[in-house]
């Protein structure tokens, strides 16, 4: 499984985190994810997720002209979004801890069986 595929499942939480850093727009979100080492095969996949976040009331948007011409949609977290981000962080910590433990365990098991 590629990193890009794994990212799909947690993209919603990652976007909440990126938007939580301050008002931002679509292309910039992809850049910020990339700065953290999270690259995607299809950058466009953030937009369906952004639509969902909007529908669930986690983000609010404003449209302003961009420096290079067309209108640009900027995203900010709502209070519900902040709460969801905090909840996501908790879930992620539990998951990361559990997966980390499992990976360590499975690595050890493999070396034993090889002996």
């Amino acid at each position: 499984m590629s990193t890009s595929q794994m990212l799909k499942g947690v993209l919603e939480g990652c976007l909440l985190a990126v938007i939580g850093m301050g008002e931002t727009y679509g292309y910039e979100m992809v850049e910020k994810l990339g700065e953290h080492g999270l690259t995607m095969v299809s950058e466009g996949s953030i937009y369906p997720v952004l639509l969902r976040l909007q529908k669930e009331g986690y983000v609010m948007t404003v449209t302003r002209p961009s420096p290079n011409g067309p209108r640009r949609k900027y995203y900010r977290l709502t209070e519900a979004g902040e709460a969801e981000l905090a909840a996501f962080k908790q879930r992620w910590d539990v998951l990361a801890e559990a997966v980390g433990q499992l990976m360590k365990g499975s690595g050890g098991h493999e070396t034993i069986s090889k002996k």
Binding site: Y27, G44, Y47, N68, G69
Partner: protein
């Protein structure tokens, strides 16, 4: 900055796809603007649209479709305008020729054919938008459907007038009233859709015919001239509208 032809085509197809699935116009505009912005950033860095779609435009369009709100009611507001202009288009020609009649076959057949046509065009647009068709296939399917539509309409017209007695034949005053009603219907639908093309096309189609009929030309000349002048006029109108839209787009 201008987008590449491939990106523009993708945006147009996306709009068409989302429109045919009955999504809200406002939301379609928002998504299309957002993707246009993203594509400009990508292209200014020399990257391609595949970065957006992941290589499958259709699958990408579906993923947006799933997250967007339905607004079928919003699209149904166009129905009255469609019915009005359709009725006016079928009535005005015969009324100008002084032959407006109503018979049962046509009264049932025309709306049935019109509904079928709308459905087939909807299907065509939807398949076309999702399928990234070649120009050849697009032209073939479009031309095929146009021919089918005309054949169906002519069939209803012929069957109606050959097999049925009309239950209403308009007098000369009646014909004038039908002309005026049709003109009002065109104006009303144009106002509803906020699009002047629904006034210009009927004018191009019917005004020359009316003028030719009332001119001092010989009957034979009238027949020949009125067989091509209206179509020429429609082509000119469509050309002018396209040129106007292009100028507006390049200014924006």
């Amino acid at each position: 900055m201008k987008l590449s032809a491939k990106s523009e085509e993708f945006l147009a197809n996306l709009r068409m796809y989302l429109m045919t699935s009955g999504k809200s116009e406002r939301e379609i505009d928002e998504v299309a603007d957002e993707l246009r912005d993203h594509l400009q950033e990508l292209e200014s860095r020399g990257e391609s649209i595949d970065n957006i779609t992941g290589g499958s435009p259709k699958r990408y369009m579906q993923s947006l479709e799933e997250e967007m709100a339905d607004d079928r009611a919003g699209w149904f507001k166009y129905l009255p305008a469609f019915i009005l202009s359709f009725a006016a288009f079928s009535a005005m020609g015969p009324a100008i020729r002084g032959e407006f009649e109503l018979n049962v076959v046509q009264l049932i057949g025309f709306p049935a054919v019109a509904s079928l046509t709308v459905f087939l065009y909807w299907l065509l647009f939807r398949r076309m938008a999702g399928g990234s068709w070649s120009n050849r296939k697009l032209f073939g399917m479009g031309a095929g459907l146009s021919v089918l539509t005309i054949v169906l309409f002519v069939a209803v017209l012929l069957v109606g007038s050959l097999l049925m007695e009309p239950f209403y034949s308009a007098s000369s005053t009646g014909n004038v009233i039908v002309i005026l009603l049709s003109a009002t219907a065109f104006a009303a639908s144009a106002a509803m859709l906020r699009s002047w093309i629904l006034v210009f096309i009927p004018m191009a189609l019917f005004l020359p015919e009316w003028l030719i009929r009332h001119s001092a030309m010989e009957e034979e000349t009238k027949l020949i001239v009125s067989s091509f002048v209206p179509f020429l006029a429609v082509a000119v109108v469509i050309g002018l509208v396209l040129a106007f839209e292009r100028r507006k787009a390049s200014k924006a």
